[in-house]
């Protein structure tokens, strides 16, 4: 009996330890980012750093304004959400409620495949197909632009949005739908007026997931957005928060203001993601309490 008890305790201790690893990682990263991100902001000045319109880290008189990166990330993500959420959500409704068994299986395996494609492949396809295509269709000299990044990001966030929407819609009790149909509502009316509202917290979670993925994506957008530190405009080459860190890290010298500023950008990116999660969590909680 005692032996059993001891074993139980040991197992629980191991689980606790494993749980703490995750928490520890998050704490470590947070502390590290804050510690290494603050010096540069101090030196440059918070206002100049966040709202400076010019980034010229290697110029003789270097300028460290990251407003172009911030706005690019915001616009890029918003654009991707604007395209990806409706497409993903309606696909979710179709898969969960309308599609037959076989159609559903085909779409779901396609979605899983799409989710498994490495982001560098998205970047490659975007570079070879999307960028020249944009240049041709819109008659701009270079197709590597914010628009190209938005398209690539919208496709990249699709699988997550579809999967989470489908899970949420599948979980809607059949009784709700039966009640609606028995009142003479058509299937479509039932899906949009009963199933979707009942699944709204799950669908909101799908949006969070999409935002998180889009804000955090680096590789694919670096390959299709041109990576020049311009203020964002749809057909101009732009640089995101993520790509700003990634593209200069290799050649910045340790301890220099340039490298420290890159850490500060990472800190801003981190705060962004925290903010998004917190806002949507609040929103979810309010929905639940209603």
């Amino acid at each position: 009996m005692k032996k059993k008890q001891l074993f139980e305790n040991a197992v629980q201790a191991i689980f606790l330890l494993l749980g703490l690893v995750t928490v520890g990682c998050v704490l470590l990263i947070t502390v590290y980012l804050i510690v290494s991100g603050i010096p540069a902001i101090r030196e440059i000045g918070l206002f100049n750093f966040l709202f400076g319109k010019e980034w010229a880290s290697t110029a003789e008189e270097p300028k460290y304004g990251i407003l172009p990166f911030i706005l690019t990330s915001v616009y890029g993500t918003a654009g991707a959400i604007l395209i990806g959420v409706p497409v993903g959500f309606f696909t979710g409704v179709f898969v969960s409620k309308i599609a037959g068994k076989r159609t559903r299986a085909v779409i779901e395996s396609a979605v899983n495949l799409l989710a498994g494609i490495p982001s560098v492949v998205y970047g490659l396809v975007g570079m070879l197909v999307l960028v020249p295509g944009i240049s041709k269709i819109f008659h701009v000299p270079d197709g590597a632009s914010l628009l190209a990044a938005i398209f690539v990001l919208s496709v990249m966030i699709l699988p997550g949005i579809i999967k989470v929407s489908v899970t949420a819609l599948d979980a809607v009790p059949k009784e709700y739908e039966d009640a609606s149909l028995a009142l003479g509502a058509t299937p479509d009316e039932t899906f949009f007026r009963v199933s979707v509202p009942a699944a709204r917290s799950g669908i909101a979670a799908a949006v969070v997931l999409g935002v998180g993925r889009a804000v955090g994506e680096a590789m694919a957008v670096m390959m299709v957005a041109g990576n020049v530190a311009n203020m964002p405009s749809l057909f101009e080459s732009v640089r995101f928060l993520t790509t700003a860190v990634a593209s200069e890290m290799a050649y910045s010298s340790p301890g220099s203001l340039q490298r420290n500023a890159l850490f500060s950008i990472a800190l801003v990116l981190f705060l962004f993601i925290m903010l998004i999660n917190a806002t949507l969590n609040c929103f979810l909680k309010r929905n639940r309490e209603k």
């Binding site: 028995a182 009142l183 009963v194 509202p197």
Partner: protein, 251 residues
């Protein structure tokens, strides 16, 4: 006695299972018809055929006919949504939508294009009054319906069904999940509602059938064994199997 729903040689299969066998039955308007029989005898299946909720189950095959007011419900010209609007349904487990009490009742009318705010308020109030729940909820119409007790939820579901002004109300064991007090309230309600509607109720509770129904149909293994006035069925059943069932020898 005018019949509102008529089944003619109705057969139904779930895949290979022959669930309803040659059902012929006339259901009178403005009265309560009880469907009794042991579990799996086909009474719920029959009920769900009447508003074509069985359409939602794949592999269902139906032959024969059901007419509503003389029109076949399986006819190509019959709009299934209009049929379900006329033949409302209350389910075994109370299933209010996860929205406010008001929105639950207003759901049907709104779906059918009812926009006028004042009229909608009137319809909702009338439905809630008819379902004998108005006094209990009138001060909290904006509160979530899931906060009501089981018995209240079931009466809310009845109100929701009444709000689209059906002619027939199908009730699938509406009190089996409820306590005795809620049950007797629903029974009283059914007796009031039969002034305006034809009610068809599936029940496992024979006392309930005796208390409230005008006609009783006894189903066994997919067949309609006996159908007649409730007092006749329970006092002098014609078929031995009916007698065995109502005296509790099986089931």
């Amino acid at each position: 006695m005018s019949s509102i729903l008529t089944a003619e040689d109705l057969n139904l299969w779930y895949g290979e299972t022959h669930a309803l066998k040659n059902i012929n039955m006339e259901i009178p308007d403005k009265s309560i018809t009880a469907l009794i029989g042991p579990s799996g005898c086909g009474k719920s299946t029959f009920l769900k055929t009447l508003n074509r909720m069985n359409d939602l189950i794949p592999s269902v095959k139906i032959t024969g006919n059901v007419t509503y007011n003389g029109h076949s419900i399986f006819d190509k010209d019959t709009d299934v949504n209009t049929l379900r609007r006329n033949v409302g349904m209350v389910f075994q487990k109370p299933n209010p939508f996860p929205m406010s009490i008001y929105d639950n009742v207003a759901y049907g009318p709104r779906t059918h294009g009812f926009e006028n705010r004042v009229k909608l308020d009137e319809t909702v109030e009338q439905a809630l009054r008819d379902a004998a729940i108005w006094e209990e909820v009138k001060d909290r119409l904006k509160k979530n319906a899931l906060g009501l007790s089981g018995g209240q939820q079931q009466r809310l579901c009845i109100a929701r069904a009444l709000a689209v002004r059906p002619k027939v109300l199908l009730m699938d064991e509406p009190t089996s999940a409820l306590d005795p007090i809620s049950t007797s309230r629903i029974e009283e309600l059914a007796l009031q509602l039969k002034e305006k509607y034809a009610i068809i109720i599936v029940t496992h509770n024979m006392q309930q059938a005796v208390r409230i129904s005008d006609h009783t149909a006894f189903f066994l293994l997919g067949e309609l064994i006996e159908y007649g006035k409730t007092e006749d069925i329970f006092s002098q059943p014609q078929d031995q199997r009916t007698e065995d069932y109502i005296t509790g020898r099986f089931g």
